[in-house]
Symmetry: D3
Subunit: 194 residues, 6 copies
Amino acid sequence: MTTPAVSRYPVPKLEDLPDDIRARMLEEQEKAGFIPNVFVALAHRPDEFRAFFAYHDALMLRESGLTKAEREMIVVAVSGGNDCMYCFVAHGAILRVYAKNPLVADQVGVNYRKADITPRQRAMLAFALKVSERSGEIGDDDYAALRAHGFDDEDIWDIGNISAFFCLSNRMANLINLRPNDEFYLLGRVPKQK
Amino acid sequence: MTTPAVSRYPVPKLEDLPDDIRARMLEEQEKAGFIPNVFVALAHRPDEFRAFFAYHDALMLRESGLTKAEREMIVVAVSGGNDCMYCFVAHGAILRVYAKNPLVADQVGVNYRKADITPRQRAMLAFALKVSERSGEIGDDDYAALRAHGFDDEDIWDIGNISAFFCLSNRMANLINLRPNDEFYLLGRVPKQK
Amino acid sequence: MTTPAVSRYPVPKLEDLPDDIRARMLEEQEKAGFIPNVFVALAHRPDEFRAFFAYHDALMLRESGLTKAEREMIVVAVSGGNDCMYCFVAHGAILRVYAKNPLVADQVGVNYRKADITPRQRAMLAFALKVSERSGEIGDDDYAALRAHGFDDEDIWDIGNISAFFCLSNRMANLINLRPNDEFYLLGRVPKQK
Amino acid sequence: MTTPAVSRYPVPKLEDLPDDIRARMLEEQEKAGFIPNVFVALAHRPDEFRAFFAYHDALMLRESGLTKAEREMIVVAVSGGNDCMYCFVAHGAILRVYAKNPLVADQVGVNYRKADITPRQRAMLAFALKVSERSGEIGDDDYAALRAHGFDDEDIWDIGNISAFFCLSNRMANLINLRPNDEFYLLGRVPKQK
Amino acid sequence: MTTPAVSRYPVPKLEDLPDDIRARMLEEQEKAGFIPNVFVALAHRPDEFRAFFAYHDALMLRESGLTKAEREMIVVAVSGGNDCMYCFVAHGAILRVYAKNPLVADQVGVNYRKADITPRQRAMLAFALKVSERSGEIGDDDYAALRAHGFDDEDIWDIGNISAFFCLSNRMANLINLRPNDEFYLLGRVPKQK
Amino acid sequence: MTTPAVSRYPVPKLEDLPDDIRARMLEEQEKAGFIPNVFVALAHRPDEFRAFFAYHDALMLRESGLTKAEREMIVVAVSGGNDCMYCFVAHGAILRVYAKNPLVADQVGVNYRKADITPRQRAMLAFALKVSERSGEIGDDDYAALRAHGFDDEDIWDIGNISAFFCLSNRMANLINLRPNDEFYLLGRVPKQK
């Protein structure tokens, strides 16, 4: 079997890319040891690439009441709900690394209600999935339920916007048949490896 | 009754905003005669504001095999499916203006199958709604169906990505209770008015 | 483009109709300035026409604890849920006129939870949609919730029966591709016009 | 256990009813040996009663390309889909009597795909259930599928309108907790009995 | 019309069966007067037959806080939810016999909320259907709701496992088009008959 | 954090178990190096344990037109659809081992349409998921689709029955909060390990 394609669409060669996009890719390669395929595939449209990662970074790197591992939990739970293989696998890896926990990603991705997480985190994921699946029904009661767990309104924006952003991301990955890099599957599963 | 709020979250005053964001708002005001509330509400988070509108502009203003009216049809149909009042009303107005058609927005927003549009546009909207509602099931057959109507792969990316982007947008609007400006409801409905 | 048809089925000429049906149509024309297409299309079957409008009038014109505008809110919310373009557009117009409110119909039709209505009206619409979408689950708790808002049992019958009747009406409109008159789209939107 | 109520709402005494309604009830009693509870319960609102049965009779008694048994099949299949105990049980009885078949009602009510019916009848019920559950998606292909089985457009109106009318009826029965008469459960099951 | 088949798959002759399976069938024939078709059809695979009925007997014959009629209520309600004609009809008969109640099976199979059963039994069936339809959402609150009705944890295991076992059974019956014996339809409906 | 429980229910000690059940457990321990928690938890009810594993073995160990890896693909895809963490994780491990493929389990569990499998296997999983989620709609066309990929009727029984059996299994695991052994998460992911 030949190697399956990264995307339904042509993927540009590194040397053909605008400088800023190539720089971002090399930076990712430096950090992770490989370039995640989402960068490779979205580079097909440089302007959308820039906006996509600007949005991603604004949400995932900002100071927040949510830890980075909690933000990745949202990504993984939402991606499982949206049947998005790329984000389930790739962000599952990132979650394992951030949480230093080899089990939590599979748990949260399949059924967060059964995962080894805190009641506060369960409330966070229930809200994130409601934003993903029935956002029109979000109301004051949902805000109140999160506040009862100590989330403030900025945290709730973060939870909701991360869920919303990965609703975009999951759909793009499904649209273009984005393939996870093989490296992601094992990442964060073997203690010494990290 | 007092005027209902624009958003669950505080909205910044124009004079307190970063220059680039204030400039964008004034430009919108210039164009439309008022500042659409999505600008006002998202300015609460300047970095996310910039990424959101960069993404929006990359998709909605680019050269494309889809007309601007067709792109707005996608927005309105997807927003109806996601029970998003803001985007249904605001983009319904924009669609009426672009299409120079006072009826099409309500038609497409409630049930595109009954709308006065071409078979090609109906295929486009069927695909956009599948991306919105069951993106994990998108496959080769869906691509083939669009190609049979003359769409090429770049057009399909446009349809899918516009749908995906407004899946994000609809969820944010529902999350923060974003209120459409009163002006949108009538816009594009009365011939002379434009 | 030729004018799209009013219905998939033949529509009778006014002069070929039984006297009572023609009289009803002329009365509507008198009142509204045009004959709503639902009259034209359903006249294809005079006995069903008579029963349909007898049922409609029994519910919509009777003395009730619900105002006429509230009854139309139910129609519009249920029709939105059933993807019925005819009733969304036509009863949206009637709702705007009765409520003397150019915004409420679009709001209630897309997502009543975000509409500028009272909590009592929101409870009314939640019940109406449950009757429309999951009537088998209606139970004592649903009655209790409405009574807590001051509805008595006759009001609840009204809410439920209006929802049920438009579940019939929406399906007929979808079955026969019933087309809203162009006049409805603008009706009640421009203050002086009324 | 005391006899459970016929309806959540008060049921009028026969002697207190308007003459035409009492006459209809006595006629039903004559025919069936008992008054079906739907008459008793809906008499709570005489005008709606009259319209309801006028609609019912217009559809169920007219000359049609569908036999009476086929029309009752539609009722039973739709009522099963809507979780309506009254119509499932009461019209199941009527179907058994009309079809002279003690098995077909339970079959059609639970899963028409497995019932001992003709392919033409299966196509009829598939359409009826689509009208009941996803009427907004009814299109030319659905009409074509029925025409291929020999149904003409008037037959299709009958199928669709019977489905639509029992969508109303099922919701009313669920709303008021309409209880089937005990007699219905056995009717048409024992050959000699008829 | 020829007699419809018992199953999509070949059904073995009694004399060709392994002794233990033939013995079980003759025992059923002794008890009921006929061999239920589920025995005939599953005998196609003797090992699966043995495991299936061992599981069935372990659940349905054991000492339990649930009566045998209550266990059959679960079967009928779950089978209705799964559109399984065989189990709805066959276990409906068994339920009528155990409960000495000719009405309860149809009621519970179509809509348990409207059935003549106790609040405790309604809670039992709500749980059974949640296990059938959304088992991933079962949580502590569901256990608490049943305990409030006097069920202990072993009873809850019984409810859940009966529901789960008939989720298997319903799917097998649907897979192989398992046909209920004609005898089941009338069984337990006519008082003297038993 | 203390070690989370294996099950909501008490788990018996190895020495308190009936001989045959203890023997089966020790055999599993021999084979895998640990006792999968499904054995530990289901031993709470010895008779159900015996029937459950007899059914399991009859399906999963028999001669079949499906390879063992293909059978585990069905388990993993169905378990993903049913939000069952135990079976997703435990059978994901078994699938990786049988298929000698560290990637396929996550792929098939999240979205089999995007997995690196053959078209024949995709058809197999589409059928298995239809049995799991809409078994009442299985019909001749579904059989024909599988035969076109070379499956015979016994293979189709296998696919359907494995799906049905894990519908039982998934519900039991969700009911009792069955926890996957930590060992499963990594099994079959690291080449040399096998």
